[in-house]
């Protein structure tokens, strides 16, 4: 019984093509709301089945284990609130005549295909076809980032597509190298590109080739994950894309790239032991956290502020995965909480942008008074992102620091020092935005916009709060199975 899985992958494609052909705003809205519901429900059902049965698969094509199910949940949940938010956000733009109906339909077509590519990528069992899906998400994202066609948007889109294309090409070379090694064991066939088969035979693969493949995959997918020093596209793209797209880039696409890195890491760990991949990842992760926290203070653009925060949090999650053991648990947990919190923060930022039509950090103050919804959203999301309790990011950061302390104390010291700095600078900027006296008046938002965006923000915040205090039992089972995927390599290192 794999129908929720098929629904999860097919729904965005159907809804996207439907929106392109619909030609009426009301029809597009209905389709997108249906899509949001379908994604939420099917992601939950897939996760439930994986928790119960261990895995769900469509023979020869899709294969969902605990790791895939975890990312299904993240992308499905945040994708569905993102769709709701996009209906409100783009609808408001259309009400203000910034957008023609044709472009409105095009936007949703691209947006849904983008979600579809990402959902497909995490469920595919063939690493090369996964690459194709990830490249598909890159291409659709490139069109979405440049959607406004302003000079800035074009510049950001160009940077994004050039850097991501380079990154993704390197990742393909890594994939080819894995095939180069595995076809000696598994024969010249698609078998040699399946995750499950690769895990099975990982210890028989050539260590030199796998090391090289991992380096290419890490640089390649790392570019897409916005890992420093390949992060330069990220702030531009996040700042210039339409806000629903910024939220999806940050919460979903970076997460997807981390997923790809993890798949390669699992094979590499089994072949050469966890030290090699772990150390590389820890190095890049610490660099990312350092670079991003350094840029918090100098930001003059609130969307860029959140973009740098994404670099930081992806770095933190990667640090957890690099440390291994408890860190894997905390890293996965961190990714989910970050996706929820960061998309919420962008939703809030988008509302501010709709009101004031500028992104200057200095000119935005007193949001709590002026826009209670956006102000509360940004304040809560900001507090979560800074790593304060009662949100899950607090517990995951503590767990990662603890894991780092037992494994590599010097990493833990560096991590805590960077974290303290990032905490102070981010919180300073957030509080400055939320408190104080309001500045300019701006344009008030329409009713429909407030309903849809409010729903999106509400769902996100409720989930964030619900999972903040403790890990729900079902998710804990999933996380435990994810940890075993990575711990298998630790028992028998070569």
């Amino acid at each position: 019984m794999a129908w929720p899985l098929l629904l999860l992958v097919a729904a965005p494609i159907v809804a996207g093509l439907g929106s392109l052909l619909a030609g009426r705003r009301r029809a597009v809205e209905v389709l997108q709301c249906g899509l949001a519901g379908a994604m939420l429900a099917s992601a939950a059902l897939v996760a439930e089945r994986v928790i119960a049965a261990g895995s769900v698969s469509v023979e020869g094509f899709l294969q969902v284990d605990a790791l895939s199910a975890w990312f299904d949940l993240i992308i499905g949940v945040v994708g569905s609130t993102g769709t709701l938010y996009a209906v409100g956000y783009m609808g408001e733009k259309m009400d203000r005549a910034h957008l023609s109906l044709r472009r409105y339909c095009q936007f949703f077509c691209l947006f849904d295909l983008y979600l579809a590519a990402m959902l497909l990528a995490v469920n595919l069992e063939n690493i090369a076809i996964m690459w194709i899906a990830i490249e598909g998400s890159t291409l659709s994202a490139a069109l979405l980032i440049g959607f406004d066609r302003s000079k800035e948007a074009l510049e950001a889109g160009w940077k994004y597509i050039i850097l991501s294309s380079v990154g993704i090409a390197l990742a393909l070379f890594g994939t080819i190298l894995v095939y180069y090694s595995s076809e000696h064991v598994l024969g010249v066939s698609s078998e040699a590109l399946r995750w499950s088969e690769l895990y099975r035979v990982a210890q028989g693969l050539d260590p030199a080739v796998i090391k090289l493949a991992f380096i290419f995959a890490l640089i390649g997918y790392g570019t897409k994950a916005g890992v420093a020093p390949m992060h330069t596209w990220l702030p531009d793209a996040h700042a210039e894309a339409p806000t629903p797209v910024s939220a999806m880039l940050s919460a979903n696409m970076l997460t997807l790239a981390v997923y790809a890195i993890l798949r390669f890491k699992a094979v590499t760990d089994k072949t050469v032991g966890p030290e090699f991949a772990g150390n590389l990842i820890i190095g890049l992760a610490l660099l990312s956290i350092a670079v991003s926290s350094a840029f918090f203070l100098v930001q003059r653009d609130y969307k860029r502020l959140f973009a740098y925060s994404s670099i930081e949090h992806i770095g933190i999650a990667l640090l957890g995965f690099g440390i291994g053991g408890l860190g894997v648990f905390a890293g996965a947990w961190h990714l989910m909480n970050h996706a929820l919190a960061k998309s919420t923060a962008f939703y809030g930022a988008g509302l501010v942008f709709l009101r004031h039509n500028h992104k200057s950090l200095e000119r935005v103050t007193g949001l709590l008074d002026q826009m209670p919804l956006a102000g509360t959203t940004i304040l809560l999301a900001g507090v979560a992102l800074a790593g304060l309790p009662p949100f899950g990011l607090f517990s995951s950061e503590v767990l990662i620091a603890a894991g780092a302390y037992t494994a590599k104390p010097e990493v833990a010291y560096a991590f805590l020092a960077l974290l303290a700095f990032a905490f102070a600078t981010l919180l300073y900027q957030i509080l400055r935005m939320a408190l104080g006296t309001p500045g300019e008046a701006g344009t008030a938002l329409g009713r429909q916009c407030r309903i849809f965006t409010g729903a999106a923000v509400g769902i996100n915040l409720v989930m964030l709060g619900a999972i903040g205090l403790q890990v729900p039992p079902g998710l804990e089972t999933l996380l435990a199975s994810i940890v075993t995927i990575f711990s298998a390599g630790m028992e028998a290192p070569r």
Binding site: A169, I176, Y179
Partner: protein
């Protein structure tokens, strides 16, 4: 297959790969945009010929399909798209580069050595017929990467990206006797769509900035 013809076949595959690498250097040394596009088309034809040779020597038939797709997409369709883009531009050649031509050539020579150095430990694992091409494939990827950094015009950056893709295809053919067909087709589709999207972007850049000089993209910074 006898040992001699095996060796001869391997030499011919190496020769094909070496010619591919030479076209890379020609692209690096070439300033005229339309000539760069032509050189890329030539490189794609050479790539298809090398792939077809591998298919012939190994008897793996799906590589023929991939070679045919290479000709159709990379030697005909994409160069045609790029030519249209070039015709719309108000520049025909790249006069100022981030790195001048002789220095670029030297750096690319260094990249070739780097590629050989990186692949040295893993070469003996490959098939006797094609394993030396893996190093050349990586060299082509690196040179394509370098071209994207060293050139300023959007069109040449695109060509750099496509050269990288050619290197990847050579790598897949030589290292692994081609990926499974479904993968190859998917990759080709992505490359075609990617080239189209980049083409669209170039048009819009030309309209918005009245230039495709990417050094003019400087609004976004800290």
């Amino acid at each position: 297959m006898s040992l001699l013809s095996q060796q001869f076949g391997s030499q011919m595959v190496n020769l094909g790969s070496a010619l591919l690498l030479l076209t890379c250097f020609a692209i690096v040394a070439q300033r005229r945009l339309s000539a760069c596009v032509d050189l890329f088309a030539l490189q794609s034809v050479l790539l298809a010929a090398t792939a077809a040779l591998v298919a012939f020597l190994t008897g793996i038939h799906h590589i023929y399909i991939a070679a045919a797709l290479t000709v159709v997409i990379k030697a005909v369709l994409i160069p045609r798209i790029l030519k249209q883009v070039v015709e719309r531009l108000n520049v025909t050649r790249e006069l100022v580069m981030n790195v001048n031509v002789p220095a670029s050539l030297l750096i690319c020579g260094g990249l070739v050595m780097l590629a050989f150095f990186i692949t040295q430990p893993i070469i003996p694992l490959g098939f006797l017929l094609t394993r030396d091409s893996l190093a050349i494939a990586l060299a082509i990827i690196l040179i394509g990467f370098f071209t994207m950094i060293a050139r300023k015009k959007a069109v040449t950056q695109v060509i750099g990206f496509l050269v990288m893709e050619n290197g990847l295809f050579l790598g897949a053919t030589s290292a692994a006797y081609g990926m499974p067909l479904i993968v190859e087709i998917g990759v080709f589709f992505d490359v075609l769509v990617g080239a189209l999207i980049i083409g669209i972007y170039t048009h819009r850049l030309q309209d918005a900035f009245d230039s495709v000089d990417t050094t003019k993209l400087t609004t976004l910074k800290e």
